[in-house]
Symmetry: C4
């Protein structure tokens, strides 16, 4: 940890983003076909480590099922439009028709509609019926309210995703989320985040999380730095949480908690960098928002952009580059890192001479 004195008696830690780094090939190269891309968490195995984010712009029941069919873990947001509206078609239309100026107001209005418990259950069953690994996400705030509904409806993997999640939330109100107890009670693996520091991650691991989300999620559309002064340069955050994984592996006598980078990965090259920094998998939103068959049809936004009195994040218009299948597994027709994410990562690992995701965590990193 490089501590730098920014003023008398005041130190800051130098941190690095994915833009600051790149990976360097070693003296060996391989065939891309020989690189294993498989990723396994708990009892679930996936053919690649790219997890789709629980965001309404990329995750409808249909797209979640389609993405699971492409081999990855795919998560539905159970606090988004799909549990607030029986049929969210019109809500999406309002979003498509919004302008840069009224985007947050439109989102505030649409997300003011209450969540329907029966829709939560119905969405989970819909995924279950499709035969995929069912993963649903709640915010820390609503986890206590809906977690039973999710489990009863048959969720396989439980995702608790907030802009900042801690294992120890302090409140003067009565009941608050005790993560450790909750995870103990649930009998499904929990992926939780976002965290950005070694200490916060270590506490989540000790609380029993199977996977930890690193980052505040949705780098492309959030504006936490402008509004809150919070920012997490991702290369440092991922490396720190990977260090927490090693520490916890030792102190737990062998429990391997997965580090999942979440946010700030707009292109395949960023995914490569996250894995190089020590991530076991990545959760992405914006790359998938560019799919013709994503519900957002090229638009991308996060739930925080709909916050009642302090919205963070815009509705970004990325445009459409191809189908979910083309974006995930190619073939690519562009050269900007927006298509064939899996193929790009596989090619990069091969060029660097490694043959699986875990070994690739040892690749040489360059600060540029």
């Amino acid at each position: 940890m490089t501590e730098i004195e920014i003023g008398r008696g005041k130190s800051a830690r130098q941190a690095y983003s994915f833009d600051d780094i790149s990976v360097a090939p070693s003296r060996r190269t391989r065939d891309a076909e020989d690189v294993s891309m498989s990723w396994k968490i708990d009892a679930y195995t996936f053919s690649h480590p790219i997890v789709s984010a629980p965001m309404d712009s990329v995750a409808s029941p249909e797209s979640v099922i389609a993405l699971a069919g492409l081999g990855g873990l795919s998560v539905l947001d159970l606090e988004g439009l799909w549990t607030r509206y029986e049929d969210p078609t019109q809500a999406y239309e309002h979003i498509f028709a919004s302008t840069k100026a009224d985007a947050n107001k439109v989102l505030q209005r649409l997300y003011a509609e209450p969540i329907k418990p029966e829709l939560v259950a119905a969405r989970v069953r819909q995924l279950r019926d499709a035969g995929i690994t069912v993963a649903g996400a709640l915010s820390p705030q609503l986890t206590l309210k809906f977690h039973k509904t999710l489990v009863d409806a048959g969720v396989d993997i439980f995702v608790i995703r907030g802009t900042t999640l801690s294992a120890e939330h302090v409140s003067s109100r009565g009941e608050v989320l005790n993560l450790k107890e909750l995870i103990y009670e649930l009998d499904v693996p929990v992926i939780a985040g976002g965290v950005a520091t070694y200490k916060a991650a270590l506490h989540l691991m000790r609380a029993g999380a199977a996977g930890v989300l690193v980052g505040f999620g949705g780098g492309a559309t959030h504006t936490s730095a402008d509004v809150l002064g919070l920012k997490v340069p991702m290369a440092t955050a991922v490396a720190d949480v990977a260090a927490a994984r090693r520490e916890y592996l030792d102190e737990s006598g062998g429990r391997y908690v997965h580090v999942i980078a979440d946010g700030a990965m707009g292109r395949s090259g960023d995914i490569v960098k996250a894995l190089a920094c020590g991530a076991d998998a990545v959760m992405v939103g914006s790359p998938l928002a560019r799919a013709a068959d994503a519900p957002g049809r090229g638009r991308h936004w996060g739930r925080e952009a709909a916050h009642r009195d302090l919205p963070r994040g815009h509705i970004a218009d990325f445009g459409v580059v191809g189908t979910l299948a083309e974006i995930m597994t190619g073939p690519s027709r562009t050269a900007d890192g927006t298509m064939n994410l899996v193929g790009a990562v596989q090619t990069s690992i091969a060029k660097c001479g490694y043959n699986n995701l875990k070994d690739f965590q040892k690749v040489e990193i360059i600060l540029n």
Copy 2:
């Protein structure tokens, strides 16, 4: 203090701006409602630490009274349009009608009108009559001339604000401002600045200031770097002055002088960073200039932009985003850090796990 050799035998100090840093959440989080935002200087308590700047773009008697009503300290410039013109409406109109090309010329002409002592007294009385904590600002140059008028008219807090203020001004002319004597004579608390260094701040504290303004004020509209080669990266300046506060606290046997960051805080995230660096409060102009009920109606300028032969600063056109109340305390309808400043700071402190302004000065800072 990181000293870097920039050439043989020539060292420079590495300094950091708010853009260079961010704050990092710790392992604990809190409810925003549990965070106390209150700030107290001398006998005066405020419900939040955001002080409005004595600039004609944001401070008319009406807006100063309105801002005080929103819970903060609010300062009127007693050398601006409101003490040069009985009714400055037309002067404001000329400013609204100015172009980028003639902005400085228009300001030079309008501010060439002499200050009327009777208007100085009248404006102070107007604030007094409204029942608010009355704070008025003078430049170091005119403090000697008008300070009695202010005190007689009933000012509660006296602000001496220049682009560069020192406790020791050297002049070949006769009488110059002796800050120490002046502060001793006045029986109201004095907030003085701007300063940017440990030493200059320490001397202001020794001169008796109750609060020290850090920065050259009005980063958004000044151009001191281009014209004078002067620039003060604010993160370092605030941290340094906070160190002077600690030093003086010790040498004075317990007098706590308030550090008030002044300038370079265009968004709520910047205010968060200033507090993280050690500021007790912040003085802001540009965020309030975006209010429909600010006198500048979206335009923002500083008094230096009207300087007779060496103007510094433009008339910036920020546009309007909401009312003073919405900008200060929300709710926000945008995601760029321009609305709900108090709420944003409170949320950020809560996410980082602290519960008051003083404790938040210990938050971890990241260099990004």
Copy 3:
């Protein structure tokens, strides 16, 4: 090697690009006419060290012959349009007519046409008949398939150029390129690359390469950083490979392997910097793409931009600034480093007080 900790337990190496550096004149100056620009590799001597890249945008049989006539080593791509099409005129026309949006698709289609072995031989003979030093390039993937054809047809210098080349390619398929054996069998000097690290370069040298290409080639048009997360800041890469040259010179008892910077040199100033970092010669594409008599007529692209399922690189439209002769040896009519490349390098070396390429490798470098 400056190792910087980017996160707990994760270090990265700080690397520098040509943009980060410049060269500084010493206390002596010389006449440009007194500076020798000659470069010699194996038995071949050239009047300057600027090698033209084997890229279809700059290398047709005609332009390769013309460039050789201007004194430099000039390389034809034997896997490009000229060996896929008897007459590639129409293929070029399709490229000229392509748009930013469909560029990669157009290239994918044109380069899907199979390579004709008889054309490979014919193109080599065409260069041979012109009496120039014949240099032809293959990718690592096709070297095994066509190398005999090249040698039989009379190539003088064999170039193996891939985006990432290693002396040790590992594959589960059967036959793969064993560089050491191949170079031993061939009786022509081999220039091979691209590599970016000390170790990879050292292994290529041990495999018998006469010259090593540093870089991933074609910085102007590739997008490896976005797609693959790979990037090689060239100043560091060239300096590292020059260090490998010194190491191998010692361990081989005196075999001097030439270091040839390849890519990221869009202007004559960049060529100067590459030589300053230790390059013996440079391979350039984009500067020559600006020639009216280059086959690309101002357009520039690399073979990777035509990759079947993961294209990297665009068709850049640089426009035309002059003839190949004017660009290479002047006179220049512009001041942007795009004309009179040889003259500019010669002038720079003279201003820094050196009188040949080898000595210039000692010039002082500035980080700016």
Copy 4:
């Protein structure tokens, strides 16, 4: 000197530009009127340290006389249009009519006209007759040819200004400039440059120069970095040459050679920074090019842009902001550092608490 390893066995020196630094006020302030701006070199005293550059865009005999009248040293280029043409009016018109695309070609043609020795003498006499301190500039290349003409015609200060000047020019041609001999023979003070390093400056001082020009001159319009890979970050260069001044002062037993920053000072703030780094005076072109009564009428170019086969620099169109008098001594009507250069420097020195140019060399410098 911070040496950084940019690659194995290859170090570079970290250097800083004026944009990287600023100056910081100290604990004392002064009245601007109390700051002495006077500068003295050899027997000549000036009321300020801003020397006008010998460039055709700013220096005609008329403007040189006008600038001298404003208190500064003012230099005419004796190899420019005014010694090639009896009446250069039409040449200027061609330049005004040039476009971005043909600028260098137009300059190449106009400056191909031979220099007339009789015009050299006539121009010097014209300045002499005006009663000003006569300063004329030659390039190192033509100094031997014309220096007698200059001295005979009555030049007071002799300026030798090239993009790179060394005390030791090595050539295979016969006669070359031996600076030491020349300066010894001439009985007028010589200002020579540009240099950028400690060693080169020290040698110029030992050769007898009264003043040393630091920089390659005319940063605004030159493109040495693009064309030649040469760049001199000015803060470091000025500080280094100031260190050479101290070294030479000691070794010569008290001869004080003036350090004159030349180039990269487009605004008054840059001049402040040059003085802070140790410059005794500054030579500026671009700020004066913005004068209505400068011969270039808002256009700015250097002689290198007219180079026969390797032009460097453009014709920049800065536009007009005021008269030479307003730009030099105000009053200013803008806030961008383009007017009242002398007043701005004086104000800055006062705000930092110093009272003359020499003391200001001790001001604290900030790296930002």
